[in-house]
Amino acid sequence: MANLNKNPAFMLGYRLYVAAFFIFLAAPLIAAGAFAFNDSLFPALPWQGFTLDWFFNDTEPKLGMFHDRRLLRGLYYSFIIGIFVSTLSVFVGTTNAFLFVRGNFPAKNFFYILMILPLVIPGVILGISILVMASNMANGVEDKFNLELEFLRPGILLVVLGQFSFITTITSLVITARLKKFDYSMEEAALNLGASRIQVLRSVTLPFLRPAMIAAGIVGFLVSFENFNTTLFLVGSESPLTITMYDRMAKVGSTPVLNAVSFFLIVGSGLLALISVAVQRDPPS
């Protein structure tokens, strides 16, 4: 404990501040979640009584989230997109980690900064720049060859690429940090014990990286799931959940079903976050 201020009043104040901070953090989520159980058509006070209708009811006007086809489809697309993005970005994150930890090549520092860059480019700009490029390419191909490359038009692929473009930085940083802790002599030891290079990778290096890869995958998935700014510009007819919810709020009018979705997401993400922390914990040494 690097805390020498033994003044009890100060410490009490400090602890209260910390507690207040966490209440601040939780407040909007609690609010968003709590109104899911309000037996009202509007997500607002006054409290009309407890209900689970916004989860399970199957008729309008209180259509519960598990019966709301569009929300479920949004959830489904978010899920698919999240899986693709996290898989892809963990893969590239891993190769990046090897590249920057093990590789030796000119201008390595410069490339390393390039790798970090996407994290600090505003998401909106990533979205539009990719949209512009894809459209230009599609239009160019269409003009020249009269060929419609539909995958270059807003849609799942572009959303995946857009999210991938900055989530890869996150996964790369997480996996790089782990690989840096890897004792290179462990690979030499395996080689020395008779393993081939492939065996070494499979049985020693990748298992060592696995916790970081899983954690990076989960973080990537969560970030993908909640991303709005980049996705907004790239989404086609298959909208992921955040966009569906936004459209619902801005264009249709929200009911507590959105709170129900929020509640569902809060619980789901919380569980995922717990898992990611659990896998990353190293055994005491």
Partner: protein
């Protein structure tokens, strides 16, 4: 086969979609909610791909088509144009014909106007009343072109007439902007979607607002004091249409959907969801009872006669209006 609809929120009620899919089991309907601007933006980005049927307002087709070539001509023979109210059909045709090809047919119409809580603001009647200090901090509007047009009318001008002379129109816009900036202090907040508006109205945080008529009708269902108020200078009327994106891949399904929603019993379901009046003969009568009540509570025949239909937006106007709105937003009270 998938029918990908690009339409307004609530223009594809789940009930109707189910019904349609039962009738045509090989067609699945996917709906993307949007608005006029986003529809154009999306279709522009895709070059008209990604969707099979779009529903922009009648005034937003002509220039978008000229500029970005995002729609394909309609085959009117595949549509039951007979059931449509002739004036709407002809109006839309007139607005959306390019090189002899028709690009849209009408679906529903409605108005933009005002809404007031009669219990608190009994004599609310014109656009200008939003800026009445009587209601300071208790009114709202949406910072989009509708309010520009409405304010212009309230200042005794005809903005659509000014479209022909853009310099004149700019001068008008400048005056409108001044008025709205002055009005800013009176406003509680600019609403962004039906959601904020409903919440503010129902909770009593605001007592009067610019509104979409459908929102007002919905609120009327909750609170009979909240009524749609056609402005004394005339409510602004729009017709939402059907248009085929240029690279749509399910034209037949799109035509099937168009004809399907024009069937009388479906019109009632649709209107029940949207609060707008179908552009079919006797559309008003096909409204569900509560909505009909709300409409009759709001409109007299004179109001209907006084509707101001949005005129086609010529190229350039969009930009001018956009800048004006930005100016208003950026101005401090």
């Amino acid at each position: 086969e998938t029918l990908r609809l690009l339409t307004w929120g609530s223009y594809a009620p789940e009930e109707l979609v189910q019904k349609f899919q039962e009738k045509y089991p090989d067609i699945t309907v996917e709906v993307t909610f949007s608005n006029n601007e986003e529809m154009i933006a999306k279709l522009r980005a895709t070059g008209g791909a990604g969707f099979d049927l779009a529903q922009p307002s009648h005034d937003r087709i002509y220039s978008a088509q000229l500029e970005y070539d995002i729609y394909k001509p309609m085959d009117l023979s595949k549509i039951n144009t007979d059931v449509m109210e002739d004036s709407h059909l002809n109006g839309v045709k007139a607005n959306t014909t390019i090189d002899g090809e028709v690009y849209a047919v009408p679906h529903q119409w409605g108005t933009s106007g005002l809404m007031a809580n009669k219990a608190v603001a009994p004599d609310f009647k014109g656009w200008g009343d939003l800026c009445d200090p009587k209601y300071a901090g208790k009114t709202s509007m949406r910072l989009k072109r509708t309010i520009l047009l409405g304010t212009a009318y309230s200042m005794g001008e005809d903005p659509f007439a000014a479209y022909s002379d853009l310099d004149k129109y700019q001068a008008l816009l400048d005056r409108v902007a001044d008025k709205l900036i002055e009005c800013k202090a009176n406003i509680k907040a600019y609403w962004k979607g039906g959601d904020d508006l409903s919440a503010m109205m129902l909770s009593g945080e605001v007592v009067a607002s610019e509104t979409w008529d459908s929102t007002a009708y919905k609120l009327y269902g909750q609170n009979k004091d909240i009524v749609f108020v056609p402005p004394e200078t005339g409510a602004l009327a729009w017709i939402d249409t059907f248009a085929l994106p240029r690279k749509g891949k399910a034209d037949d399904a799109a035509y099937k959907w168009i004809n399907f929603v024009l069937e009388p019993e479906n019109v009632t379901i649709m209107s029940g969801s949207t609060g707008a009046i179908a552009a079919v003969k006797g559309g008003l009568d096909m409204l569900p009872e509560d909505k009909k009540e709300a409409v009759t509570a709001a409109f007299t025949d004179a109001d209907i006669a006084n509707l101001k239909f949005f005129a086609n937006i010529p190229p350039g106007v969009e930009d001018m209006e956009g800048k004006t709105l930005e100016k208003i937003k950026a101005a401090t009270e």
